[in-house]
């Protein structure tokens, strides 16, 4: 009876393909929708913070970062992820309204200290602007903001001219909200 068991052992040894992985040298092939370390597209992130709000372990924090898009992300706040707490559930990726946050195939996160595995936007960003581009975009943002201010001021003036008193106040408010 032991022979029968050994027969199976032999059969498996001869027919089964390679099982052991040569891990540190050769990484196993990961599927396309693997949920590994996040990848941030800083050029499209709008800094809404919905990833930070949905995170069940509150491991995402919004921090300032200078290589993003000031046109879309006025506060220049980008996600920073604490991989000591992250469970790779992928809720942040589902929640992102502009799909700028993705999860990639990288899975190695080990660090010597706790702060080593807190990944700021600079470490998770795969797409970002150069300093020159940021400066141009900032100038553009400033120009747009000024234009808007001018427009708002003009509109306010017109309104002030049209109606007096209460109406004026009520209409100035939504304008301010839009800018912020």
């Amino acid at each position: 009876m032991v022979l029968k068991s050994l027969k199976y052992t032999l059969k498996t040894a001869l027919t089964t393909t390679e099982v052991t992985r040569l891990y540190p040298e050769v990484m196993m092939e990961l599927p396309a929708n693997e949920r590994g370390i996040h990848e941030l597209d800083a050029t499209t992130c709008i800094g809404c913070g919905s990833c930070a709000r949905i995170c069940p372990n509150s491991c995402i924090e919004m921090v300032p970062y200078k290589y993003g898009n000031p046109l879309k992300n006025r506060k220049m706040q980008f996600p920073q992820i604490d991989y000591g707490r992250c469970t790779f559930c992928g809720l942040c990726v589902d929640e992102c309204p502009v799909s700028c946050l993705k999860m990639g195939k990288k899975t190695e996160i080990a660090g010597w200290e706790r702060k080593d595995i807190v990944y700021g936007p600079d470490r998770i960003a795969v797409k970002k602007f150069s300093e020159k581009e940021v400066a141009e975009l900032e100038a553009e943002a400033k120009r747009q903001a000024e234009e808007k201010k001018k427009a708002a001021a003009a509109a306010a003036k017109e309104k002030a001219a049209k109606a007096k008193g209460k109406e004026n106040k009520a209409k100035a408010k939504p304008d301010e909200g839009g800018e912020a």
Binding site: M1, K4, S5, T9, P56, T87
Partner: protein
């Protein structure tokens, strides 16, 4: 079900028929035992599925929900509610009618402080002794030690110079009446030692860390010679309080926590929770999503059974042909298939309310079919191998026999119950998703011993492969996600949803109060029931067979403790 109303006029305060499988009734606490006895004896409700406590702090009430079902006579689930006032809450115990009500009532007592009159052993089950008397799952629980004072551990320097950190409160505080007085009961050790009757008996510890246990739990055996006279079980070493955590998270965030209850069954746990919330929201997922969910549930059943069986055979010392390694090799293929769909290996967080997270990858069916074919050959090989091994059969045959009557009385479900000749499967009893359209048979065995349990698991792998192949043939195109509002806020209400876990009946009971967060989540896990049935099963067995019996139940402590 108006029979109850006619039999007990005035005792039923409220009733609601949700569907032809769910009946909600609120009964008079004084007549609870009478009504339950009537249901058990006259209406075939012979399976006590669990109980949940709910703290209705706004109405100043406690609710105890008793879940009663039947082993195949009919498919109705009765959820019987009893409401008691918040000061001095007390309910009549059902332990006289159902043996397995014991643990469920103990858990409610330690968590809510609801007294059960006539309960034989009202001792804490999951909580440490320090926490009893604080009733942590009441809504007015402030944390321990009290988070309002911010006091954590007390630092004490002993006479020998060592510093100890104690979380026991000061006696002065207790004297001043700041802290509630704790109930008195014999400790676990005292209860154990009280059972030693003669010098020839001794207690042998297995655990909390032991090779046979799939997680930390304490199994103490009172032995006389080679025979086990009595077994004591202590769980709660890894109590995580997942039910309480989920009360403090939104509905969507709760899915993440269901994964962590048992990582081998994370898809079915997701499914149970999402299904319950879907009932609350009143939506059904689109057909393609249902098929994807079934495929994943069955894949997760295959990998769970493979790991469970392989691990168990290693414990038995089946080293000549190393089945554990074989099964891990095969499991790797299945896990890879699951990973290609969900993106994670074990904690999937994949099922969503009204759908699934993402679609099947391109060419999934072509990739899956050869793997399933190979899997089928291998499983048949294992069955042949185990069947023809005389050492294995002598070790397993006739060991830990559960007769059908006993198995039903002890409240076990899943493979151990089916091995005891009871075809009780949630996929048949409480069909969900597209299971009614699929062809599969419920695997049963007559023997009820450890060998039969393993056989049932291996044959279930074949059934699961059959189900997946049908799904791959039938799966339609279409959307995978129902449209949902941005913020999930179900109407106030409650739902109970059962699925067939790899290990048995998994039910999740969700109460909503109309806010973004669930008011109460109660998990009725299958392993909880196994664990409770373990001490009576071990009585009279040889010490050497304890491993075979306990291992063949395929336990998962993480889910017991939650």
């Amino acid at each position: 079900m108006s029979a109850i109303q006619s039999a007990f006029p005035g005792a039923v305060l409220e009733s609601r028929v949700e569907s032809d499988r769910r009946l909600w009734i609120t009964v008079d606490p004084k007549r609870l035992v009478e009504i339950t006895q009537f249901l058990r004896d006259k209406k075939d409700f012979d399976h006590y599925s669990g109980a949940a406590g709910v703290d209705r702090i706004n109405e100043n009430l406690f609710e105890v929900v008793e879940i009663l079902t039947s082993h195949g006579a009919h498919q109705v689930v009765v959820l019987m509610k009893v409401k008691v006032p918040r000061d001095k809450p007390s309910v009549r115990s059902l332990t006289g009618l159902y043996w397995n009500a014991n643990w469920y009532e103990r858990e409610i007592w330690e968590m809510f402080g609801i007294n059960f009159e006539g309960h034989p052993e009202l001792y804490p089950l999951l909580l440490p002794d320090e926490l009893v008397g604080y009733w942590p799952w009441r809504k007015d629980f402030k944390g321990y030690p009290d988070t309002t004072t911010g006091e954590r551990a007390i630092e004490q320097v002993g006479p020998d110079g060592y510093t100890e950190f104690k979380i026991m409160p000061h006696t002065e505080l207790i004297k001043a009446g700041v802290l509630p007085e704790r109930p008195k009961y014999p400790t676990f050790r005292e209860r154990e030692e009280a059972e030693i009757k003669s010098d020839s008996e001794m207690i042998m510890h297995m655990g909390p860390q032991h090779a046979i246990v799939p997680g930390p739990f304490l199994l103490d055996l009172l032995i006389e010679g080679e025979r086990v006279k009595k077994a004591f079980l202590d769980v709660g070493y890894i109590h995580k309080g997942i039910e309480k955590i989920m009360e403090n998270r939104t509905y969507l965030q709760g899915i993440v926590y269901t994964d962590r209850m048992c990582y081998l069954a994370s898809i079915t746990n997701n499914e149970a929770y999402c299904g319950a919330v879907e009932r609350l929201l009143g939506i059904t997922p689109p057909e393609r999503a249902q098929y994807i969910r079934v495929i994943l549930a069955e894949l997760s059943r295959i990998q769970s059974h493979l790991l469970g069986t392989g691990e168990f055979l290693t414990l038995l010392g089946a080293a000549t042909y190393s089945p554990f390694q074989y099964m891990i090799i095969d499991r790797e293929d299945i896990v890879y298939l699951m990973e290609s769909i969900t993106g994670a290996r074990i904690t999937h967080t994949f099922v969503r309310f009204g759908g699934v997270r993402n679609d099947l990858p391109d060419g999934f069916a072509d990739k899956a079919r050869p793997i399933l074919k190979r899997m089928r050959e291998r499983t048949e090989e294992y069955m042949d191998l185990l069947h023809s091994d005389p050492i294995y059969t002598r070790r397993m045959r006739g060991i830990g026999v559960l007769s059908p009557g006993d198995a039903r009385r002890l409240g076990v479900s899943g493979p151990p119950l089916r091995a005891s000749d009871t075809p009780y499967d949630m996929r048949r009893e409480d069909p969900i998703l597209v299971y009614p359209d699929l062809d599969f048979k419920v695997v049963t065995r007559k023997a009820g011993d450890a060998e039969a349990r393993v056989e049932v698991r291996l044959e279930e792998i074949l059934e699961s492969i059959h189900i997946i192949e049908q799904c791959l043939d039938q799966i339609p195109d279409g959307p995978i996600q129902e449209k949902l509002p941005k913020k999930i806020k179900p109407e106030p209400g409650e739902a109970y949803y059962r699925v067939e876990d790899p290990r048995g009946e998994m039910g999740i009971y969700v109460v909503s109060d109309g806010s973004e967060k669930p008011y109460r989540v109660k998990v009725r896990g299958p392993v909880y029931a196994y664990m409770q049935a373990l001490p009576p099963l071990l009585e009279g067995a040889y010490v050497a067979d304890v491993v075979a019996i306990a291992g063949s139940m395929d336990a998962c402590t993480s889910e017991v403790d939650r």
